[in-house]
């Protein structure tokens, strides 16, 4: 399976879930489930996914499905796999956790499972915040973003820390397979999930899933935002296989980060010095990922215009 044309037609993740219109996470989960197929056991910790897909006594998954607590995705999928071994069963065991359940709360269980090299697939659906509980900051929230716990004041505007480099933490565990995915790079997405499905041992997938209410973006722009994240360097597509890292997609030229920021209301307050700081961080990141194969990155000179806002737009934005 290497392109979207080769994907199976049936949907183990059915329609009728309660996600917001334009949910990036629903796109990711639906396609991951299509590729993994029906012979899969799904575990979901506390997250948006549990709320939208499991209204008791129904679920959207046509597969066995389990839910316990927030922090133990790594431990629970380990347990499911152990029980399957004991009973002589075999299926793909997948944990679909959010970024809160991976970066912050679930990090110890994840680290444990990765270190023991359990035969499971761990997927982090990264929407850069605790969106289910009403947009709080997490370790995955990027620099400068507005959330309810990193508000925009007169002095401090948005989050002051940069996004945690989770893939570096995972790489330090030396897993058989780890990859970062984007829902806007279709064939790359399919190849990586297929590869993860067929490998043995601990496999980790990191998917960027734009969140319409949390990122204050337009529902139709979900995929475009994912694409721009890769083109501006905010997101990098690479895979780590048996200890060696390989970039799977390199943008032709580096777009200025403002192209990405202007589509999202959570960055609307950002001023020139903050944008310059973010751009500088991105340029360093760009060198780390593409340094050997890329010529000088175009760390574009930019000018930010103060956006003109009408009250109608403002109201639309904050309801």
């Amino acid at each position: 399976m290497s392109t979207i044309k080769d994907m199976p037609r049936n949907d183990p993740f059915t329609s009728g879930h309660g996600a917001c219109a334009g949910c990036g996470m629903a796109v990711a989960v639906k396609n991951i489930m299509r590729i993994l197929g029906e012979n899969t056991t799904v575990y979901v910790p506390a997250s948006c996914l549990i709320v939208i897909s499991a209204m008791y006594p129904t679920t959207n998954f046509r597969t066995p499905y389990l839910y316990t607590a927030f922090e133990n995705t790594g431990a629970v999928i380990t347990g499911i796999r152990a029980a399957q071994r004991r009973r002589g069963l075999s299926s793909t065991v997948v944990g679909l956790a959010g970024d809160g359940g991976t970066f912050d709360i679930g990090l110890q269980a994840l680290s444990g499972a990765a270190e023991r090299n359990e035969d499971v697939l761990y997927v982090c659906l990264d929407n850069e915040g605790y969106m289910n509980t009403g947009i709080q900051r997490s370790g995955a929230t990027p620099f400068g973003a507005w959330t309810t716990t990193s508000p925009v004041g007169n002095v401090v505007k948005g989050k002051r820390e940069f996004k945690k480099d989770l893939m570096a933490i995972i790489a330090a565990h030396d897993p058989p397979y780890a990859a970062s995915l984007s829902i806007a790079h279709f064939n790359d997405f399919v190849k990586k999930v297929e590869k993860a499905k067929n490998k043995k041992g601990f496999r980790f997938l990191h998917v960027m899933t734009p969140c319409v209410p949390g990122w204050r973006s337009d529902p139709s722009m979900t995929v475009e935002i994912s694409r721009l994240a890769v083109e501006t360097g905010m997101w990098t597509l690479f895979e780590i296989e048996e200890g060696s890292s390989r970039t799977t997609y390199r943008p032709q030229t580096m777009l200025p980060v403002t192209d990405y920021l202007k589509l999202q209301g959570r960055f609307r307050h950002m001023e020139n010095d903050d944008i310059a700081k973010l751009q500088d961080w991105l340029c360093r990141k760009w060198y780390i990922h593409y340094g050997h194969e890329a010529e000088q990155p175009v760390c574009a000179v930019f000018e930010k215009r103060k956006p003109m806002r009408t009250p109608q737009e403002e109201q639309l934005h904050f309801i």
Partner: protein, 299 residues
């Protein structure tokens, strides 16, 4: 005590409407409170909000089960849930619709005000946020609060949160709705039955077993059962597909969050509009503009 229940969809501002109504009553020197229904609200999903108004201090804190006034912010909700459940016989109702009160069937025959708040909101606010427009109609049908104190309350609430200009626009919407609302008796033919839902307890699913897919009391349960939840009613715009232009790249099929785009044997696609929420991603990713989003939902 005067009790009000608001039925709307996430994003229409039902909670804000309840709070503004309560504030208008407080301005007139009465006691009031307002609060939303706590659930897994998502944008477009059915939501509820409540308000109580009394001359004395209000000690009851429960949800409103027998409202004196029912406010329906989205007409399509009448078909999918019994909104008029518990509405008093001498109660009143306000419905956001383009129809006249006589054409509305709430299930209880009461005095009803109808107003096309969608059109008013799009005219004044340029967005389908109907809460302030519907409040104008509320002031029209009840003598609960005057339009003057309603306008004052809108100014306080919206001015504080979104600035003076936003408050002015919202007051304009409320005034227009106050003028345009038509009042009459609505019909009461619809049966108000609550869909019984079977909720398995520990005896139905013994320890070590899991619930298997099946039908119980006419309702699907178990794995995959959530597909009975037809989310197509959330839609505000509808995709229009031009098969002639389609190059069968399947990008829309891949990126549809609902899975409502079905893939035919020849890789052309077809929409299952029962589930389409009208996000517009398919139209955005289409390389040949074969998909247009047309305004208008499932109605």
């Amino acid at each position: 005590m005067f009790e009000v229940r608001f039925h709307g969809r996430g994003g229409q501002g039902a909670v804000m409407a309840a709070q503004t109504l309560a504030e208008a009553a407080v301005i007139e020197g009465r006691h009031a409170h307002a609060f939303p229904f706590f659930g897994a609200e998502r944008r477009g999903a059915p939501v509820m909000a409540f308000a109580r108004i009394d001359d004395e201090k209000i000690s009851i804190k429960s949800q409103v089960y027998e409202p004196d006034l029912l406010v329906v912010l989205d007409e399509s909700l009448i078909d999918i849930e019994p909104v008029a459940r518990g509405l008093k016989k001498d109660g009143k109702a306000v419905v956001n619709t383009r129809k006249s009160p006589q054409e509305i069937d709430l299930g209880v025959e009461v005095e009803c005000a109808t107003v096309n708040a969608n059109a008013i909101a799009l005219e004044f606010l340029k967005a389908p946020i109907v809460n302030t427009a519907i409040l104008g109609a509320v002031a029209r049908i009840t003598d609960l609060v005057s339009i003057g104190s309603m306008k004052q309350a809108i100014e306080n609430r919206f001015g504080e949160k979104f600035g003076e200009a936003a408050a002015r626009i919202n007051i304009g919407a409320a005034e227009a709705a106050y003028e345009q609302a038509s009042v009459g008796l609505c019909q009461g033919r619809r049966p108000l039955v609550i869909k019984r839902e079977w909720l398995p307890d520990w005896r139905d699913i013994p320890i070590g077993n899991s619930l298997s897919a099946g039908i119980k009391d006419g309702v699907m349960v178990g794995p995959g059962g959530a597909r009975q939840n037809l989310t197509g009613s959330w839609r505000m715009q509808t995709p229009h597909y031009d098969q002639e232009k389609c190059v069968r790249c399947l990008r829309c099929w891949f990126t549809c969050p609902e899975g409502c785009i079905k893939r035919e044997d020849d890789d052309h696609v077809r929409w299952d509009l029962n589930y389409c929420k009208g996000c517009g991603i398919c139209s955005q990713v289409c390389p040949v503009t074969a998909i247009d989003m047309i305004k208008g939902g499932s109605r």
